[in-house]
């Protein structure tokens, strides 16, 4: 079975799918990514599907699952580079990529993750108990 490589670039894991994946390869990628998120502590995952000429229900489900797993592991997932013909076909197939963020390309995906991360850190600061009012 072929395996999809996962690259670490700074705080982001980049997966560029370059082959027509068998279902087994897709499931393996899901597991490998979860392990790498935990091992590296990365807070962002970009899945580059520029080279994919189709996304069927199996791969669509894999993308949703990866997004859910990442969220639980405190990482943001962005799917980058979906071809227009793939997007049209997905809609007609009836697949809504629920909970998946998308970006036109990897660069935009990186910006999206950085922005989402900054937002989240802001919120975490907001949520900190206010020292003044917290004092009895």
């Amino acid at each position: 079975m072929e395996r999809v490589p996962i690259l670490k670039i700074g705080d982001i894991l980049l997966v560029s799918i370059q082959l027509d994946m068998s279902d087994q390869t897709a499931v393996q990628l899901q597991e490998d990514l979860a392990e790498r998120i935990v091992a590296t502590g990365c807070h962002g995952v970009i899945i580059d599907i520029t080279a994919l000429d189709i996304v069927d229900s199996f791969v669509g489900r894999m993308l949703s699952t990866i997004a859910s797993i990442s969220r639980v592991l405190d990482a943001e997932t962005v799917v980058a580079g979906m071809r227009p013909a793939v997007a049209i076909t997905l809609v007609e197939l009836g697949l809504s990529l629920n909970g998946i963020r998308t970006a036109l390309n990897v660069e935009r995906g990186m910006e999206l993750i950085a922005a989402a991360r900054a937002d989240e850190l802001d919120h975490q600061l907001d949520d900190d108990p206010d020292v003044e009012t917290a004092t009895p």
């Binding site: 000429d53 189709i54 996304v55 199996f58 489900r61 049209i88 076909t89 197939l93």
Partner: protein, 139 residues
Amino acid sequence: MTAGIDLGHPQAQAIRSDEDVVRVRQLVRAVAVAVKLSLVDQTKVVTAASELARNTLVYGGGGAVEVTIVDNGRRKGVRIVFADSGPGIPDLDLALTDGYTTGGGLGLGLSGARRLVDEFGIETSAATGTRITVTKWSR
């Protein structure tokens, strides 16, 4: 001629593993390109074939696919037949409903594939298994 495939004859491909499902996608793409389907239509028919080939493997217990170029005098097209000798589909209307699955999938394969092609036919019975024929025509 595409990548050594003789497109003058029907092309057969066994479906016994998920690697075979990949081969079905590649075969259908080669034929779709040969009959000059638009890029969107190529994508649609390959996606439909991927769904149906996976069903043949998972629910039909494996089987075979045959891909043929068809010509109605005005247009060319791709015809794909998926055949298995599995348990058949007891309730077709139900199986063709979006979201219906007995296998923990999304239940979109069959209904979605039907939307992605121009012609869609099913013969299914417990005795003979399932045979699905789809056609996509060039515009």
